[in-house]
C-alpha cells in the first residue's frame, strides 16, 4: 500500500454502520475502497445527492462533487443545493473526510487557498468542516518533508477549532481541548519519527500500532 492507501484504509475503519458521510476530493475519495464487507455507509455529495455510488462511464446527468460522472445507489435521493447544505450545516452528516494544506493543534484547518499562488475557492469545505459531527483530516504527514501539522496554521483558515481526527500515513492523532494526542503509529515508523515530522507538540501517552496495518 502507498501512503494514500494507508490513510484511506485507516479512515474507513472510523466510519460506523449507518453513517451519513461526505468525502472531499483527493485521498478521501479512496475511502470507499476499504470499507469492511457489510458495513453500510451512505455517501452524500454536496452538489445534491444522498446515496452516491461508484463512478461510471455511462451517459448520465449525475455527477459527484468533483464533476465526475457517477451513480446513485438504491434508496438514494436527488436534492438541491439548499437542502444539501442544510444536511451539511445542520449537523446531519455524521462524518466528513477532507484533505488539508495545514492543520493545527487547535483543530483549525487551512485547505482552500495559498495566497498569491493558488486560489481555487473554498467550495463546500467551510460548511462541511463547520457542520459535520466529526471532521477527519486525511493528509500526508508532511509536504515533501515540510510538516503540515502545525502548532498554528499559517495559511488562511477554512475553519477554526473544528477538526476531530487527523489520519496520515504515519499516525492517527486526535484533537482534544489540551492539544494533539498521538493515538496510533504506523508499524513502519517510531514515535520519534512521528514527533520529528510534526511541528505541533504531540501529547504521547498510550500509543498503539495503527489499526488494520
Amino acid at each position: 500500500m502507498d501512503e494514500k492507501q494507508i490513510i484511506a484504509k485507516r479512515i474507513a475503519m472510523e466510519l460506523q454502520d449507518g453513517n451519513l458521510v461526505n468525502l472531499g476530493i483527493g485521498i478521501p475519495g479512496l475511502v470507499p475502497n476499504y470499507l469492511e464487507e457489510g458495513k453500510k455507509i451512505v455517501f452524500q455529495a454536496e452538489n445534491g445527492v444522498v446515496g452516491l455510488g461508484p463512478l461510471t462511464d455511462e451517459d448520465t446527468y449525475l455527477v459527484n462533487a468533483s464533476g465526475m460522472k457517477a451513480t446513485i445507489l438504491p434508496g438514494g435521493a436527488y436534492i438541491d443545493s439548499l437542502l444539501s447544505f442544510s444536511l451539511i450545516r445542520g449537523g446531519h452528516i455524521d462524518v466528513t473526510v477532507l484533505g488539508a494544506l495545514e492543520v493545527d493543534a487547535e483543530g483549525s484547518l487551512a485547505s482552500w487557498i495559498i495566497p498569491g499562488k493558488k486560489v481555487p475557492g473554498m467550495g463546500g469545505a467551510m460548511d462541511l468542516v463547520m457542520g459535520a459531527r466529526k471532521v477527519i483530516i486525511a493528509t500526508t504527514h508532511t509536504n515533501k518533508g515540510k510538516p503540515k501539522i502545525l502548532s498554528k496554521c499559517t495559511l488562511p483558515l477554512t475553519a477554526a477549532h473544528q477538526v476531530d481526527l487527523i489520519v496520515t500515513e504515519m499516525a492517527v492523532i486526535s484533537v482534544e481541548p489540551d492539544g494533539l494526542h498521538l493515538l496510533e503509529v504506523h508499524p513502519d515508523y517510531s514515535v520519534d519519527d512521528v514527533v520529528n515530522a510534526t511541528e505541533a507538540k504531540l501529547i504521547v501517552e498510550k500509543v498503539e500500532t495503527m489499526k488494520g496495518m
Partner: protein, 215 residues
C-alpha cells in the same frame, strides 16, 4: 405554458451590466445554449452568480474567455484557469463564498429575507466586512441576500404549463435561482406533457420564458 422565447428574443432581453444567476455545478445543470447566446450577444460588464467558474470552454467559463464579465460571485474557481488569471490581472472581481452560504444568500434573496446567520466562515477571511451577530451566546456571520436581473436555468424537464423538475444532480442551484431573479429563462433538457404535482420542484408561476430552439 409560459412564453416561449427564441434565440433572438432572448438576446433582446440582454444588456450590458446585468446581474445574471446561472444554474449548474461544474457545468452539470448549466444551460449551455443560453450561455452561448449570451456569448453571441457580446453584452459586457456582467455580474455572474454561479457556484463556480465552469471550465475554460464550458458553462459560465465561456463568458470569461469572451471577456464579458465584470464580477463573479462563486464558491470555487479552481477548474477554470482563465478566471484565476483575469482575477490576478485585476480584470475581473471575484467574490468567493462558502457554497452553503452562497446557496443561503440566493435563497434569502428569493424568499424576501434580509439575510441569514451562519457559523460558516467565522474566524476566516470570509467574515471580512460582514456583521457578526450573537444569538443564544454564539457568534454568527450575517450573510446578506443576493438577487439578480435574470436567472438562466438548466437541467430542466419542462411540462406544458412551464413547471420544472430537474434531471438527477442538475437540480443543484437551479431552483433557488429561479426564486431569486426578476426574469427566469429556462433551457429545457427534456419536455413532457405534465409533471406529477408531487414532483414539481419549480412551480410554473416562477418561470417567465422557456427557450425554444429554431429548427
Amino acid at each position: 405554458m409560459k412564453a416561449e422565447i427564441s434565440a433572438k428574443e432572448f438576446k433582446n432581453l440582454l444588456k450590458d451590466g446585468l446581474t445574471i444567476m446561472v444554474g449548474g455545478f461544474l457545468t452539470n445543470g448549466t444551460p449551455e445554449k443560453l450561455v452561448d447566446l449570451v456569448v453571441e450577444s457580446k453584452v459586457k460588464d456582467l455580474v455572474i452568480i454561479c457556484n463556480d467558474g465552469g471550465y475554460e470552454n464550458a458553462g459560465v467559463g465561456k463568458l470569461f474567455t469572451n471577456n464579458q464579465v465584470k464580477k463573479l460571485i462563486a464558491s470555487h474557481i479552481g477548474t477554470n484557469p482563465v478566471v484565476g488569471d483575469l482575477m490576478q490581472e485585476g480584470e475581473i472581481e471575484v467574490e468567493l463564498l462558502p457554497q452553503g452560504s452562497l446557496a443561503e444568500k440566493i435563497r434569502a434573496g428569493g424568499a424576501g429575507l434580509g439575510g441569514i446567520l451562519t457559523p460558516t466562515g467565522l474566524d476566516t477571511v470570509v467574515q471580512n466586512g460582514k456583521q457578526i451577530i450573537e444569538v443564544q451566546g454564539k457568534r454568527y456571520l450575517l450573510e446578506e441576500p443576493l438577487t439578480a436581473d435574470m436567472a438562466l436555468i438548466g437541467g430542466a424537464v419542462v411540462d406544458k404549463y412551464g413547471n420544472l423538475r430537474y434531471l438527477q444532480t442538475t437540480r443543484n442551484f437551479n431552483p433557488i435561482m429561479a426564486l431569486a431573479s426578476d426574469k427566469v429563462v429556462v433551457e429545457p433538457f427534456e419536455t413532457v406533457d405534465e409533471i406529477d404535482p408531487e414532483c414539481v420542484i419549480t412551480p410554473y408561476p416562477l418561470v417567465d420564458y422557456v427557450y425554444r430552439e429554431e429548427k
